[in-house]
Symmetry: C4
């Protein structure tokens, strides 16, 4: 009985360290894991550079195996510890955790399978988890709230931008034609997006006077409508702040509100809050 | 008589489905239509890619005819059902609806007429209609209100940007000249717009030290003045929210709305809310 | 005596038409002048295109002379009518008005002098004057107020951006060197501005790994700090609105303010405003 | 004794001139120094241009020595005058001040050491000090406060952008491959940053249909998420203004500030304002 409880406690402690991040060890584990992910991504990244692969290929190969074994152990512990193992395995991060160790093992049988290790970079998304902890969810959730609240408006906006780029792209395909690089409508739509978002690679660029005129129009449009998503998010954030901050306290004497967080006396009648 | 009413009802029901979007079937029809438009645009788009046209030309041709017939039937029903047929035919969407079916029929007699089918992509603007429905007009109209309210300021802004690009373009034409790609003033104005909007294709780029100096100035200008439209729209939106939020309360006396959250008396007639 | 007064009146009327824009004729004159300027700029612009000059050179030459004579008459009338002629002649617009007619006359003696006519495009700045009238100064002055109020902050910002581009440009000159297109420090600074403002021509682009790393840093920096001028202008505009709009009216009964422009009754106590 | 005090005073006056900027002479010294730094940076900059070096090399060399001697004297005076010399020498600006004079002396023994003079451009950061003075710290500190307050949110944002570019870059490396310019993962990440920040050099650009599709997605993403930092900073600034504006009033009892315009009683101690 006491043995079982001890085991339970040991399991719970490990659970707190690996899955939660409020305690010191929990946070430490998350940070160490994040650094390990960063380093392993760096190794995969460097391995793709030919000159480095030629010189340090063997070293990188060994480091890769060390990380893979570490991540495998982590994955197995996660499955053992978590209450609903199956739910974790099928969750987004569960699948990513599995996919980020498989390629190394596969590479024993199949050459080239290692390049699939890049899946590991998706684990970098854990950065959000660690950052979240640091600031106790506040900042990140404020961002999320603002984005969620303006989801509908952003959908309308992206829908409109999409319709616009299709129409503009098709028009440019008609005007410029294949001889000026606008070889097909999808490619012209790609150009329209490149232009509207002010990226402007220059791999495809209008050559005719009419095409350049239309391009001018699209550019000014793109330059102007960037104000729309910015306006949406900013308005949402500004309001968020105003609501979440000072309206909470009311004066017990004159009952007026609008007091600052730090206020200890009513600014209208001087009554203690 | 009952027969006539039944016919009337049948006509009205169809009208509601096709022209309105508040009911379930009305919304369903709009969504189906939008998907059909999207697919038909996709077909026209894919047909412009040479390799796809060579392999699947026949399939695409058949699908195109199916969509054309579907849209033709839809167009005819719209004319029959609507009360003022002539007004619909002359309306913007009426003309677009007609233009998006004609090219296929023309292609029987004239080869190449099919490429005019891209007109169909304009029908994608219906996306706004469907999206509008989903959120009950609120979000989209808030955007429109903000844009309308800042129309005057945006006109001043675009006028100023236009004058600036003409002057900058002409200066660059003088400084760089035809040998560096600035072959004419319109082309130089095109370059000025490309630069000011931070698109920066790089198909034309200043080569002389003086030209690069002026370009530097234009870029920093463009980088800075993007704040202006953003500021305009954002300020409008932030205020909008503050005004439009509390529309829930209506005055029991004069029935007008637009009262602030804190208001206890109607601001129009003085009645207690 | 009456003759003199009549002359005075005639002069005053003309003054109102040409220099002011509040009356109907004053506004009409400004609009006609603006269209004339636009057309004359268009003519100069088109003349710079070689193919058009070859085909319609003679026509453009004649139209140019017509505009020049019209602008000459306008300039002379302005000098006669205005009270302090010398002050007008030395003013910014006075000099521009003169410079925009001289080149045509010079072209009789000196070939090529016509290209100086582009000075005329500066007259396009009059567009601000006409636009201002249309909206009765309100919108434009709101923009100006916002920009003026944030002048100090914008100076700090531009100073910082300048120092940053010099440092970044010099670093890149050290890292990449002449063989990768960074032939001198000024050219590298030019590249830094092109990158920081997110224009990105691509005529100069880092080739070494270290250079691309630094470029990555500059790009993210530029992407982030664009938020600063936008934030400055927006905050100024949002506040402007809040101050200039509803605080004017106070309730005569309870003396509280914050009423909307349209409010006719106090929203707190119901008293007539 | 009086001699010592006089010496003390002389030292203090010099200290005020060189290290502080509130007095007339202190500000004048800072402005003169800034101009000297600007000119000396200009000289180093021009020397890097080959054609100028060939023609005016000797002149630039002499001017460089004059500036170096001036800065050396300034550096020595700073060490003598400041109370804690060692602290100044080890401070950031102390090291920069030293590094910006050493290269010229080194160039006597080692050819090419002059190019290290570019370190001097870091001294341009003093521009902030002078600007700060002009506006009495207000504006610049408002900017700093806004940036500091939103530091956590900006970290989350940059972390997210970083994770995104790594994932996108790796995906593009898989899709496009070395034959289309995506020769390694780091290079692909560099491309992803170039695209997401809307810089778009065009030195690397997707060639395959799938790659262009993903690029389209990244561009629209980058175009949209620029709203996030802008929203963060703007919301912070808008609120800042509302809080920091009314600092004029101080409580006569507890002497604390930060009261709102409308406040009639101190919010900290309840004393009447």
């Amino acid at each position: 009985m006491p043995d079982k409880r001890a085991k339970q406690n040991w399991k719970e402690t490990l659970y707190e360290i690996i899955f939660e991040a409020e305690t010191f060890w929990g946070k430490t584990f998350d940070v160490v894991l994040l650094i390990a992910i960063l380093l392993s991504v760096l190794v995969v990244t460097l391995e793709s550079v030919e000159s480095i692969r030629n010189d340090f290929g063997m070293h990188l190969y060994i480091i890769e195996w060390i990380f893979t074994i570490f991540f495998t152990i982590e994955y197995i512990i996660r499955i053992i510890i978590v209450r609903r193992s199956w739910r974790y395995i099928r969750s987004f991060f569960g699948i990513v955790d599995l996919l980020s160790i498989i390629p190394t093992y596969l590479s024993i049988f199949i050459t080239g399978a290692q390049s699939l290790l890049i899946v590991r970079s998706i684990r970098l998304l854990r950065v959000f988890r660690v950052l979240k902890m640091v600031r106790f969810l506040g900042e990140a959730s404020q961002l999320t709230t603002a984005l969620k609240a303006s989801r509908a408006k952003i959908t309308v906006f992206i829908g409109g931008v999409f319709a616009m780029t299709v129409i503009m792209g098709t028009l440019m395909y008609m005007i410029e034609g294949a001889e000026n690089g606008f070889t097909s409508i999808p490619r012209s739509i790609y150009w329209a997006v490149v232009t509207l978002t002010t990226v402007g690679y220059g791999d495809i660029a209008p050559q005719t006077a009419l095409g350049q005129g239309l391009a001018t129009f699209i550019m000014i449009l793109g330059y102007g409508i960037i104000a729309v998503p910015t306006g949406i998010v900013t308005a949402e954030m500004t309001q968020n702040r105003m609501i979440t901050k000072p309206t909470a306290k009311n004066c017990p004497n004159c009952n007026r509100h609008g007091h600052d967080e730090e206020a200890r006396f009513c600014k209208f009648c001087g009554e203690k809050l």
